[in-house]
Structure formats: structure tokens, C-alpha cells
């Protein structure tokens, strides 16, 4: 048995999920989106990763450049992805949307800059 909160709408139903063989039973959802959410969260939960990488020669006081994964990646790979990005350094100038790191954690997803950073 597993409990989770559905975040598909502001009601935030408390879901109780039971697995019998391959079949998944969901209780506590006030609508069918709750069940879909639970099944997806159980089978393949994914998230957008947002973090920062070092930037050299950036304008002003910025030591870090904010970045994100351009698509969701499996939740279990977030930690691995963070490790891959730990040593990454980029040089200014950078444009919002520029690719900073390709194929993160072997997912085929790219890490992109989420702001412009001009040169000093």
C-alpha cells in the first residue's frame, strides 16, 4: 500500500494505492484524473530538473548560471544528473535556451540555460 497526494488540481485528494499483481487500485480520488496521476507516479514518475552550473566571466555578481532540463527526466535519475552537472563550467556570454550539457544521465534530454548572461 502507498499513499500520495494528487496535485492535478487544488483539491489535493489523499490517494491510497494498492497493487494486486499487475492491477493497480486507487482509492480517495474525487475524479478520474487522480487515478491516472497515481498510476503514472507509480510506473514512471518524471520531473523537470532545475539547478545551476558555474559561469565564468559573467556580468555582475553572478558565479552561477541557472539551467533546466528541456524535458522531464525520470525521478530516479535526478541525483545522477546532479552529479554529472557538478563540475560543469560554462563561459559567458550565454543566451537563454542555449544547450549547456547534452544527453544528461543518458536520457537524450539536454540541459539548457534559463537566462541570458552577458560578458563582463
Amino acid at each position: 500500500m502507498k499513499e500520495m497526494i494528487c496535485i492535478q488540481c487544488p483539491v489535493g485528494c489523499k490517494l491510497i494505492i494498492r497493487k494486486k499483481g499487475e492491477e493497480i487500485y486507487v482509492e480517495g480520488n474525487k475524479c478520474k484524473r487522480g487515478k491516472e496521476y497515481a498510476i503514472n507516479e507509480l510506473r514512471n514518475p518524471t520531473r523537470i530538473l532545475t539547478t545551476t552550473v558555474f559561469i565564468e566571466g559573467g556580468k555582475g555578481k553572478h558565479e552561477m548560471l541557472p539551467v533546466k532540463s528541456d524535458r522531464e527526466i525520470p525521478k530516479d535519475l535526478l541525483e545522477h544528473a546532479m552529479k554529472e552537472l557538478a563540475g560543469v563550467r560554462v563561459k559567458a556570454p550565454v543566451k537563454c535556451g542555449d544547450i549547456v550539457f547534452k544527453n544528461i544521465a543518458n536520457t537524450g534530454v539536454n540541459i539548457i540555460a534559463t537566462r541570458d548572461m552577458e560578458e563582463k
Binding site: 545551476t52 556580468k59 558565479e63 541557472p66
Partner: protein
């Protein structure tokens, strides 16, 4: 003595002066949207104390911005970028690293890179955002070691300066800022021992509770608080305890938690020092300026928007409110402002506050009331009344204190009745 007075004289004759239709104080999302809108009908300057535009958004690197306005979950910097490009394209004058010190009769005194600047504006928009409550304001006893940060300060250190404030962290407060930081610390490899919340319910949005805490198995301790901070030079630990109904610590429930960093996410208060000095009337509950339906304050020609008026959970609402302020400020400058009278807006059953707090009968067809409830309620009916008459109503499946509620009402109906307006929430 002689030197400082001659410097002062020198400064006085170097004092740069400028004139503009609309001066916007603060270049966060509120200031940017207000400036872009006002610039359609007037000359505009943005005065920002930081070295760049974007306000708090530049350090909010997580996704969750713009779902309503753009239909996508942008990060803070991405959301800011869109509006920075907009004000640049509109030809808005931008003054960075310039701090507004005071406003006297529509004259703004600011201090910038090249000394003091005087800006004479026909209308002023206050978009100064908010600041964080600190330890002094919540009275935690104990020593004063290093390692205690407000959440916003920790966020800036990690996301902009690239400095980790600690390795084993305790977070006090479960508002959105606290939740977001719990995830951020964890992703960066620190251990978040737990989030402690004095109230019986989390203070932030549900999606943040799930995606910031549950995703990383970070415990949330409701009805708990920090009663002592230990450590001489550096934080060594905290004492936490359960609280009773009156939020007083319960004897015998104390527990020592080892940590090297305490993050205080104990709330935000509108930043209004300059507004107060300018004689703008404040709302004791929001901590922000009292405004009318066009975001004009009690002082003619001074407008306010964003977190300087009331603390928002969603930036989209900030933008909508700020665009209105910008539009109405331009109207004021062009002598197009209309007024029909003055009506008060009151917070009724289960409503903590309502913005706007007053109506002046401006030429706005639909009035947007934003408010927060006192307590959670399922199957709620939101009602706007003028006198005894209901002029707008809507059902909500659930209302919660952390989520701002909005309801639209027709201005014409209100002015036909011309009685005090009240916003209420009741169970059905």
C-alpha cells in the same frame, strides 16, 4: 566636519535632475509589467537598486511561473527575461544600482552610482516587493552563532553566489520559500533533517509539499517549532518541540537535532519604508499600501502593485495587478482619471483581507477582488455583496489560506447600489 559639509555642497550642485511622466520604483515582475503597460501612453523610468532587472525572480530558478499567463511552467529567470525584453522594446528608461531614498510631493530622491538623483514624476508606481521576517521578529532564544540564514538569503547564496550555507540543515517554516529551499539543499547534496511548521497545516502550495518534500522523503513536522539554537561560533544544533493549540511549546516533547545550518522561512512582509514616509496609508493586515480598484493609494498619483501591496503566491497575479497599475497611472498622467465617489471594501466571514480595500468609481468595467481566507473550507461559496445585495458569486471546491482567491464583479452594479462592499466565504 568642514570637509563633509563642502562635499555635501558639491553633491548638491552635481545633483542630477530629471522629469518623467511615470516613475516605477522597483524592477521586479511588478515593476516590469507596470512599466511596459504605462509606456504605451506615457514616458516611463524604472528605478532599481540592484545591478539588474528581474527582482526576486532571478534567484527563483525552479519551475512554477507563468502557468496562467503563458500556459507553461517557466523558471523565475525565464519569466523575468520575457518582461525585461518587453520593457527594452518599449523604450522604457532604466536606472540600475539606484536606490530610492524618499519621495516628497512626487519628487523622488534616489542615490545612484553618480550620486544623488532627483526625479520629478507626474505619477509614481511603488513596486518595491517584500522582505523576509527575521529571527528577531519571531523571537527564538539561544546564542547567535553563524549558520542561521533566512530562506531568501540561502537561496541567493546557492543560486547566484554558488556557496553552500550548510551540510545538515533544519528548516523552520513550510511556506513556499521553505519548501523550495528544502529541495534545493537536497539536490545539492546537503541533508535536510526536516521542515518544522508551527501551524497544523503546511503554509505553502500543495504542489510544493509534494514535489519538494515527498519526492525526497523530507519529513514535515507540523505543530512543531524551534525553541533553542545551540552553538558558540557555528550552529551545532537546535532544540525542537511540539506546540499546543495556543502555539506554546509542550513540556516533555523537546528533542535535540544536530545541524550546522538553520534556515528561517517564517514569512514575508511588504517593503514599504518609502511609501510610509510619503504618507501612503497602510493596511494593518496585509502590511502593504491600501489601494483602490485601479491600484492607486491614498495619495493622489501614487500607485502600488505586487508584493508591496500584499504577498502573492503566484507571479501571474502580480503581473495582472501591475499591468492595471501601469495603465491607470498613464491615465492619471494624461488627465483621464475618473472618480465617482468612495466606497469601502470589507473582509467578511472567513476572509482575512481583501485588495482593493476601497473603490473610487474609476472607469474599470470589472473589478478584480483578491483575498485570502482565514481557514481551509471545502465546497465553499465566494460572495461579493454591496450592502445586502449579492453582486457576484462563485463556487470553489476548496479554499486554503496559502492560495490567494480571486473573484470578478461588475462595477456598474456596485455603483448603482452605492453601498459598502463585502467579500465573504461560506460553506454550502
Amino acid at each position: 566636519m568642514a570637509l563633509s559639509s563642502s562635499l555635501a555642497r558639491l553633491n548638491a550642485c552635481w545633483r542630477k535632475k530629471m522629469r518623467v511622466d511615470v516613475a516605477v520604483i522597483g524592477g521586479g515582475p511588478a515593476g516590469l509589467a507596470a512599466a511596459a503597460e504605462a509606456s504605451k501612453e506615457a514616458s516611463v523610468v524604472i528605478i532599481e537598486r540592484n545591478e539588474e532587472l528581474g527582482g526576486i525572480l532571478q534567484q527563483c530558478i525552479h519551475p512554477g511561473f507563468g502557468n496562467f499567463i503563458f500556459g507553461e511552467m517557466l523558471t523565475g529567470p525565464e519569466y523575468a527575461t520575457r518582461f525585461i525584453e518587453k520593457v527594452r522594446a518599449a523604450g522604457v528608461d532604466i536606472m540600475l544600482e539606484t536606490t530610492v531614498l524618499e519621495i516628497e510631493n512626487k519628487k523622488i530622491i534616489a542615490s545612484g552610482r553618480n550620486g544623488i538623483v532627483e526625479i520629478e514624476a507626474k505619477a509614481i508606481i511603488l513596486a518595491t516587493g517584500c522582505r523576509e521576517r527575521t529571527r528577531q521578529q519571531i523571537l527564538i532564544p539561544g546564542t547567535r552563532p553563524a549558520g542561521i540564514y533566512t530562506a531568501g538569503c540561502a537561496q541567493r547564496l546557492i543560486n547566484i553566489d554558488g556557496v553552500m550555507p550548510g551540510r545538515k540543515v533544519v528548516i523552520l517554516g513550510s511556506g513556499d520559500v521553505g519548501l523550495i529551499m528544502a529541495r534545493r539543499f537536497t539536490l545539492e547534496g546537503a541533508e535536510v533533517e526536516g521542515v518544522y511548521e508551527i501551524m497544523p497545516k503546511p503554509g505553502g502550495l500543495m504542489r510544493n509539499v509534494v514535489q519538494c518534500l515527498h519526492d525526497f522523503d523530507i519529513p514535515l513536522h507540523l505543530r512543531h517549532t524551534i525553541i533553542d539554537i545551540k552553538g558558540k561560533k557555528r550552529v551545532e544544533g537546535v532544540v525542537v518541540a511540539k506546540v499546543d493549540e495556543n502555539l506554546k511549546p509542550i513540556k516533555g516533547t523537546e528533542r535535540y537535532v544536530e545541524c550546522d545550518c538553520v534556515v528561517l522561512a517564517v514569512g514575508l512582509i511588504p517593503e514599504n519604508e518609502i511609501a510610509k514616509k510619503a504618507g501612503v496609508e497602510m493596511d494593518a493586515i496585509t502590511g502593504g499600501a491600501i489601494v483602490d480598484e485601479g491600484m492607486e493609494t491614498s495619495v493622489d498619483g501614487i500607485f502600488a502593485c505586487g508584493n508591496a501591496v500584499h504577498v502573492h503566491d503566484l507571479v501571474d497575479d502580480v503581473t495582472i495587478e501591475a499591468e492595471l497599475a501601469g495603465k491607470m497611472a498613464a491615465k492619471y498622467v494624461n488627465g483621464m482619471e475618473e472618480r465617482k465617489g468612495l466606497l469601502k471594501v470589507k473582509a467578511g466571514k472567513n476572509v482575512r483581507y481583501v485588495v482593493p480595500q476601497m473603490l473610487r468609481g474609476k472607469d474599470i468595467e470589472t473589478i478584480r477582488f483578491s483575498f485570502r481566507v482565514k481557514k481551509e473550507m471545502e465546497n465553499a461559496r465566494v460572495v461579493v455583496k454591496a450592502g445586502e445585495e449579492v453582486i457576484a458569486e462563485r463556487k470553489e471546491r476548496i479554499v486554503r489560506p496559502p492560495e490567494m482567491v480571486k473573484i470578478l464583479a461588475e462595477a456598474k452594479k456596485i455603483w448603482e447600489i452605492r453601498k459598502e462592499v463585502m467579500v465573504e466565504v461560506e460553506e454550502v
